[in-house]
Symmetry: C2
Subunit: 226 residues, 2 copies
Amino acid sequence: MIPTPKAICFDAYGTLFDVHSVGQLAESLFPGKGKALSQLWRDKQVEYTRLRSMSGRYKPFWEITVDALNYCGAALGLDLGAAQRDALMAQYARLSAFPENLQALQRLQASGLPLAIHTNGNPEMIAQAVESAGMSGMFSTVLSADRVRRYKVDASVYQLAPDFFNCQASELLFVSSNGWDICGATWFGFKTLWVNRSGAPAECLDVMPSYIGSSLNDVVALVCGQ
Amino acid sequence: MIPTPKAICFDAYGTLFDVHSVGQLAESLFPGKGKALSQLWRDKQVEYTRLRSMSGRYKPFWEITVDALNYCGAALGLDLGAAQRDALMAQYARLSAFPENLQALQRLQASGLPLAIHTNGNPEMIAQAVESAGMSGMFSTVLSADRVRRYKVDASVYQLAPDFFNCQASELLFVSSNGWDICGATWFGFKTLWVNRSGAPAECLDVMPSYIGSSLNDVVALVCGQ
């Protein structure tokens, strides 16, 4: 257990919402290329957020996700028509929760701690994802990069949380499965827990998360001691 | 031919300097994994420049390149000791020019146009690369991200060129093989030529280069009409 934070902020994609089902659909649409597509799609999506954020060329995350998919179609030589693109985006809109997530979030909620989603996703797509994943009513707020029209790891995105909860960044616990997001959040000043689901190596960025776990159950153990 | 620009700014790695020899060495050190290593190494190197730039955590490009290599060693499960790391970094320090580059640069130089290197690389590593590639004396200046302690595509890096040449960005021709660099430079306001050596698809970022070519000979054709 740690000193109780004022609130817990969760990254969304890969942390709360399991994007694995997108990879399965990609494989069924493009046999033998599903893994390459889902990996490149994610990489391009994240790359485009950074390039647009650095250049002051904001565009909502949903639209960036479509752009990244279109790039992948060209790069991988896929026959990506409107039907395939719509099917993949529809799957992206209705992701599942990771298996342990609902129970872990319920236990954290029962402890009385405010829980927030802190995400690059625009509010509309997050609202849909929350509902699809059965997480309605679990979060006090959605802190979206859309509000500042920059993307992680820009400090203005992380600043949304101390502003909303009216406290210091160091009084908040930030949880993400993305190593780069954890580095940005730790640099910013949050207490951080890296949910390293895939056993990835730590980023070589001269910064380490406050805590490391492998699932959302480790957030419960850290905060509730059980 | 186009209206004569005030100067031509060249990106360095992948545009002037051929990093292919690094991939060859990687393959000889780690048989079967050379391609994966050189690709991930480059991706991580670029990713780290953006994360550090967005977070105000500047570190020189040479050191970022070492960090990215260390990450790759862990991610790919390589037996990457000091000897292998030093050998790969030494290779990175002494890259060749692409075959057509020296003659193309000589023809541009003969036209009287000032030529600049405009790069994320720190001055020390660029000086060594210029010498190794036989390009000594060809450039009026090296405009390095190191001066502003941010990385492309941050506008402060591109701003180095109009400041140095005391002109508008639109009076300069910016040349890069990196699609994302071309997007950033076009957003910034340069005339741009994308040297698309690998036949890559254009980035889906709602911006297109002013011109597209496949080698530095296309810069000569564009500027000198021959």
